[in-house]
Point group: C2
């Protein structure tokens, strides 16, 4: 029997690579996405395309009313998405996002009897986000094994972060080796309804630089 | 300026007592409830009544598609609510529920600049639930201060669990001293649409015994 894994799939470049990695390691994959009032709905369409391409066992999109809280340029219309390189923690930070996403993934994993959860966090390019660091991941893994019936009785929840120490260029090279079709992914914070990227936001800039440094042709569809 | 706190309010006896405690300690209260496909919707109506009674600053009910995962008698129609005293972890356990609830509370707390989160977990009567133990709460508090911009920059998130070591009778006595109107609360796992309790499920039995032992008259409205 295949080992089951829950994979957090946003529809971006990183999570597409993570899904390809989990698949290449022989896991039976359960893809989990969130509709949390993000501006870039086209990400969710990309997530659905990726779930199909990688023939996942099941893809769930969970609605989450977190946009109501405000406090992030990704969900709050009154804060503009920045186009300059930010210092410190960026305003695009969504409060407690990875904590919430991992918690829900944990709930699904327990129901599925899966011990493995994959998340595409990255401490290099996005070092401003506290919930992308190894220290946070370790604390969550510890929590998972205290929080759940399965964790307490049998232990062994594992949070896999195969991208955590890779640069964007290294992620892209890894994905290329696994034949990830990055034209199917959307990273832009303000993609249009066709899934075309703005080319200007921080996420777009990091992605462009990644393709340049990886010496891989950028397949992103841009608005201009 | 009043200190702000996010209070998890399910509408049951425990969370009503917690809300009264937080209010009595001088916090400006923000009540948070979840609509997660629970069978007992009347709990949410009770939560709204309590939010009004305690004049909270804001009450948010967050929709959460966790019922889709199944695996619990509280959200899965194919599992019956047990009426016998269970041994070990009860089947009414919702996977990773408190982890998810606290994570979302943390997100709201960060946006509000609140450091204090109150939750009515109890390790005595519900000792079968792993996410009601002090060890779990400590692990979550640790996570909260690693997971968030505010936690990393300033530290100081605190998870308050004023009921964790109290028996149901002691909780009721504490609530009585604070004039909590328990007729406004719903604990029953299968209350009807009028909010009347079945009197038979484990939650009803623990509540009845609590009133008996506390020598307080039980104001619960029963179906028979």
């Amino acid at each position: 029997m295949l080992k089951k894994a829950v994979i957090l799939v946003s529809g971006g470049l990183d999570s597409a690579t993570v899904l390809a990695i989990a698949k290449s390691q022989g896991y039976e994959c359960y893809a989990l996405s969130f509709d949390y009032g993000q501006r870039h709905d086209s990400e969710l369409e990309a997530a659905s395309r990726l779930a199909k391409i990688y023939d996942v066992q099941e893809h769930k999109i969970i609605e989450l009313g977190m946009g109501e809280f405000g406090g992030s340029a990704l969900t709050d219309d009154e804060i503009n998405v920045p186009t300059e390189k930010a210092t410190g923690i960026p305003v695009t930070y969504v409060p407690a996002r990875n904590t919430v996403f991992l918690s829900i993934a944990l709930g699904w994993a327990e129901v599925l009897s899966a011990w493995d959860i994959f998340i595409g966090v990255n401490a290099v390019d996005y070092s401003g986000y506290p919930d992308c660091r190894q220290e946070f991941i370790n604390a969550f893994e510890n929590l998972a094994n205290l929080a759940t019936k399965a964790g307490v009785e049998e232990g062994g929840f594992k949070i896999h972060t195969p991208l955590i120490n890779l640069s964007k260029a290294q992620i892209i090279q890894k994905g290329e080796a696994l034949n990830v079709d990055y034209s199917e992914t959307v990273s832009c914070y303000q993609a249009n309804t066709k899934g075309e990227a703005c080319g200007e936001c921080e996420s777009c800039r990091l992605r462009q630089q990644g393709f340049e440094k990886a010496k891989v042709q950028d397949p992103t569809r841009y608005q201009h």
